[in-house]
Every structure is written in C-alpha cells, then in structure tokens.
Subunit: 411 residues, 2 copies
Amino acid sequence: MPSLISAAEDPRKAVDGALRRLAETEPDIRAWALVDAKGARKAAEGVTNGPLRGVPVGVKDIVDVAGLPTECGSTLRRGRIATSDAWLVDRLRRAGAVPLGKTVTTEFAYFQPGPTRNPHNLAHTPGGSSSGSAAAVAAGVVPLALGSQTAGSLTRPASFCGVAGFVAPVGAWSTRGFTGLSPSLDAPGLITAGVTELALVVEAVGGTRAELPERIRVLVWPGTELADIDPAMLDALNHTARALAAAGAETNDLGDQVRTPELAETHATVMAWEAARSLAAEAEHPESLSTPLRELLERGRRTSKGEYRRAQDTARTARARVLDLLTRVDVILAPAAPGPAPFGLEATGTPVLSRPWQLLGLPVVTVPGHRDPHGMPLGLQLIGHRDRVARLLGIARHTEAVIQEISGGTR
Amino acid sequence: MPSLISAAEDPRKAVDGALRRLAETEPDIRAWALVDAKGARKAAEGVTNGPLRGVPVGVKDIVDVAGLPTECGSTLRRGRIATSDAWLVDRLRRAGAVPLGKTVTTEFAYFQPGPTRNPHNLAHTPGGSSSGSAAAVAAGVVPLALGSQTAGSLTRPASFCGVAGFVAPVGAWSTRGFTGLSPSLDAPGLITAGVTELALVVEAVGGTRAELPERIRVLVWPGTELADIDPAMLDALNHTARALAAAGAETNDLGDQVRTPELAETHATVMAWEAARSLAAEAEHPESLSTPLRELLERGRRTSKGEYRRAQDTARTARARVLDLLTRVDVILAPAAPGPAPFGLEATGTPVLSRPWQLLGLPVVTVPGHRDPHGMPLGLQLIGHRDRVARLLGIARHTEAVIQEISGGTR
C-alpha cells in the first residue's frame, strides 16, 4: 500500500523527524543546498490547519523562499536573499506545508550537476535539474519537494530516483519567484513518493481533483526515434500497456502521428534563444559559467530572430494538432527517460524524451514502480491535455496501481 | 566566556539538537561520512551518568565504532563494519558520551582530502586529516570530536577551524580500533571548542586534571626554519608570548636547541617506512589509491631497513635531549600551522610544524583565539613533556585566557 501524506499530528515533530532523516542521509545523498531548521521549526509552530498541515517540503534552489538565498547552483547568485515567497511556495504554505530548505539544482537548472547522488546507487546520477528534490523525496527525508521543468528537469530525475512527478501545463501555474530559463517552456512541478500523494498535493495547490474516466484511451510511444531505449524500459512500457489493456483500457500505438524529432529540435532552438535573453547578465561572466551553459547561451545568441519565430510557429501548429489528438485519446504513455540513471555524477542524463511534450506545454505525470534487473528505478511518463489535468492524474493513479500489481506488490 | 560542555539535562534532547544543527550545516560543511541518528538516540536513552553525560561525539572515520563501517576515506574500505568500539570510543561512552556518527577523514589519514569545507570560509580547506572532526566542532554540531595525529593531522585542522585540540603522548592512550599509518608516530586526540572543555574531556578520559604551576617557563619557537610563516601568525605568536610574560611567565626563544629540520625529515622517513608496512595490502591496489598516498607508500618501499633504523636512532637521541629540556622549561609555544587555512579544497595544508614534535611523541594542545585580518582562525600549539600532561593542559588553559584578553573579549 502506498503511504499517504497524512496531515501530521504535530507539525513540529514532523519537521524534527525530517531533520533527523536529513542528518542521517545527507552525508551520502547531498540533496540539500541549504537547510533552514530554525525557520522550519518556527513555521511548524505557526501552522494550524490545511490539507498539508506540517508536511516538510524541499524547495528547488531556483525558487524563492522569503528570507533564504536563491543560489541557482551558481556562484553568480551566491548569498542572494529572496524577499518574498514564490507563488507555489506561498500556495503550499497556505495549505499548511513547511519549507525545510533549498534542494540542489544543476547550474541555473541546465546541465552542470551539483553534488547530489542517486539514493538507489550512490555512484549514479539522480538526474537533473531537480536533482535534490527527487533525491530528498527518494531518500525519505521529505514527502514533498518542489521542482520545475524546461526540458526534462523534473520527469527525468523523478524517473531515475523512483518517485512520482507532476509538471504543470505551461502557464497554468505561476512561475513568479522562479529563476527561469525560458518563459515559453518553464513550468513548475511537484515530486512525491507516489502518484496517490501527488494527486493530493495537486488538489491542495490547484484545486484539481483526480478523476478516472470510465473509458481510458492510451497512445503508447516508445520514443525509439529519439534515443536508444533500454530493453528493460521497453519491457516496462509494454507490460504496463498490456496490463492497462487487460484492465479495460483502449491502447494503441502513437505511431507517426507526432513528428517528435522535429519538435525536439524546435524545443532546443526555443530554449537556447530564450535562455540567452533570460541569462544575458550572467553571460557577461563566462568565466563563472560551466561549459554546457556557456554553449547554450552561445547557441542562443547565434540563433536569429527569424529562426526563433519559425520555431515558435512550428510549436504552435504542432500544439493545435496534438491538443486535438488529446481530445480523442486521454494520455500518451511513454518512457520517462531512455533507461535507468546512468553511472557517474558528471552528467545528469538526457531530457530528449521530454523535449517534444514540453515544447507543447503539456502536463506530465511520472509514474514510478518499475525496476531494471539491477534494481534501479524506471519511470514511465503520462502526457495529457493541458485542460484535463484531473483526468491525467486519475489515469496516472490507476497506472501506478496497475504497475504495483504486475511488479508484484507494494513499492 | 567559553561555553562549557555541561552534562546535558536530557541526553536525547542533546542528540536531537546536534542532529538539527547537523542537518542545517552539513549541506555547506560536509563534515560527516556517516550519521547514526537511530543508534545515537538509542544510546542517549541508555545513558545514566558520567561527566560527559549525553554529549554527542563525532568520531573520525579511521576509528572503530561497533556496528558502523570504518571507511578511512577510501573506496578500499567501503562498507567494512567494525565489530567493537575503539579504546577511546569505549572510554568516552563510559563517561556518558554518545557517538553521533563518523566524521570525514582524508584517505587513510594521509593527504587526499574528502569533501569537507572550512566553516569560517567555505572556499578554504578545513585542514586534514581530522578534517570532519575539526569542522563539525567549529560548526557547532558537536561539542566534542575524536581525531588522531601521525604528522599534523589534528593540530593543523584545529588551527584552521579555530578550535582546541589535544594530541596524546604517543603510546599513552591506546590506538586499539584505530586504522593506523605509523605505529611509532600515531596518537589519538580530541577536538573541542576551547581548551577549558578540552581539559574536562581529557580528565574524563584519562584521569589527568589540568594544573597550573606557580611559575610558567615558556620557550618560543616561530618555526621559520621549516616554513614561511604568515606575518599575522608571527604577530599572534609574539603578542601571546609578550602577554604571557606580562602575566608572569618566563619566556625565552627556543633558538637552535632543537634541530627541527633534521627531525622533520627523520619524521617523514619513519612515517613512509611504517606506512608502507601498515598499508601493504592496500598498496596492491594502486589504482584505488590517490597519487600522494601511492607516492608515500612507494617512498616507504624504497627506504632501506638501515635508513629506517638510523632514523629511529636519531629520534631516540633527540627525544632524550628534548625531554631533558622539557624538565627545565614547561612548554614550547609555536604556530600550529604556518598561517590560516589556505584557499581551495584540493589540499589540506602542510603538517611540517608538527613533524618534529610528533617524531618525539610529545603531547600537544592547540589553542584557538587569534584571527588573521580576514577573520580566519590562527591556532598556536603548546608542546609539553610526555609525563606532564596536567601541566601542559593548565598552561594551555591559561594561554587561552590570555589570548582572549589580548584579542579583546570572548571567542
């Protein structure tokens, strides 16, 4: 049985429990950029009510928490204290949650990793850019963490760390208080241990309650035209699709209905162009930037206004077509990443399986439960219509239950 | 006023307080190799009495704590669980102290650093090899940590982190349960915030009570023949000597009464020869050793038995001469390191100012209190007769008080 986030009996005890677990796991995992024990204990004392009463939360360190620095994994932002809470932090606080501290992000949520390790195998990356948020939840330190996605920054670490993730539709949740990379692609998101908890938190934040339609229509997309997909991941995908079908879902292949290579490339163009503008001030200190980030900003500067406009036109056309498709089916079921977390801490894996869908601004749920033969987690992603988040969550919860059955029991 | 280690009201609360402080500081400082929250809380419940009742302790990760791995900062020892407590851990437990976990050591207590940062400036080394123990005390996580010294492994990090350190005379305290480098040089030691606390713990462990002689005789050694000494360090040394004299001490220069360059070189020969034997099994996995450690073991293998015997003869002769000198004076006052903690985390600074005295097996107290113009700590060391630890501690406590007066107040 999945453990729910229960409204903690005593918020202060919940915070102390998280701090104990953090002290115990942090020397190995290194998921935290900053821990505000004093602030969290004080906030816990003030909490009186709410569906997330006393739930300690990790906040990705590109997201503002009033009174704490937002350092974005970069020396260029060292010590920059935020004066107010980000929109999503404020919503979580209103629901009773207690920010425990800031979790490690890659440099400006791009590719350069922080020190975080994968709780399932310390020699493997936790994924990025929401590295610390995924690892902190996977390590059992906090039941909830806040992340964001511009390419595959939430879906991928959730998959690598064996936890559930939600990426809000672009524009649906405010990014106020987020240090963004790319305004037309950035989306806030949440990470929890399982989809059941995720649905509770999404409801607490956005008011959307998960609902399972009577008839579930699924398009299966293996992603093989974009990456070499690990055989264990393909097995996980196919077993899940068959099990959903056996439980009554209508499953078909996505086939070539979406030109994903073109959309992935278009995503990269939009991201580079916008990132070069978002981080124009930082680009003037190339000596303080990693090579991958410098190259992204350089690509963005070399991209012409015309190219960017054409990319946005491509995105607009594809968005209309795929939204139409998603009125005739409910979700696209796909690998959340090409395989398990790669060995090594020098890179965070590829976001390519997220690029097409993030370009279209669609909501995504990462569903955990599968493992590869070495015991490393394998996540699947469900992509839904931007106006049907309730249905996406309901189907994701159903999919999680189905995976638990076929993988033989509780997670 | 220095804060004392008070026998904690409630040992479990003391442990929880340390865990909270650890959770808050560890993302920056990275002083811990492993935290045993569960074990510490259980041990705290069982503590009934003792002068260190409920005091949480950090244990350098070359020292065995029953049931926890001793990993020595090396992949070669990953996951090696100790079956019983080291002698010193056992003594601390009997006095009521509670091991909280293992602190970061350099690789096999030699030069290759772990991830620990200096709490006074995160861009600077905490020193080594007792890096985590010094940093954990300096960060206020634990009031007491256990370390060891073969060259300058306790005196140097204590100096860099602005805390007090005690190195026991070689052979006086058992090294049972320590992973040693060099049996004729290895000595256990302790780290606390100040000398007052240090004296309390030494008394609790070894029964030696600090005593201040009526007449204090000090030899001052600037160490300039062994290293370039930072001007701020020389100022600290000279001001302290003058203040001790003003308070009634008899101060003179050590001059050339001890041939320190010869002893430093002799120390290096003994250490290399013995380390090559202590780590003979590890030397067979050179691919798993750092370059500095490989070079030490290589030097040890190339050293002939004859050279080693001559080095031990030199040590013996010098030991007799210096012990005789230390019946006519009480202590040698010297810089604990050539200057403040160097910038960077790739190296831990030089132990050269400790080598001569460690070769002679003398007890050493590091006295904190001075700062350089950038606010970085500068420690002084007091070296005493191996049979007069009580007097050494008494003079060190007096010196600490004198430094507090001249540096204008509390620490």
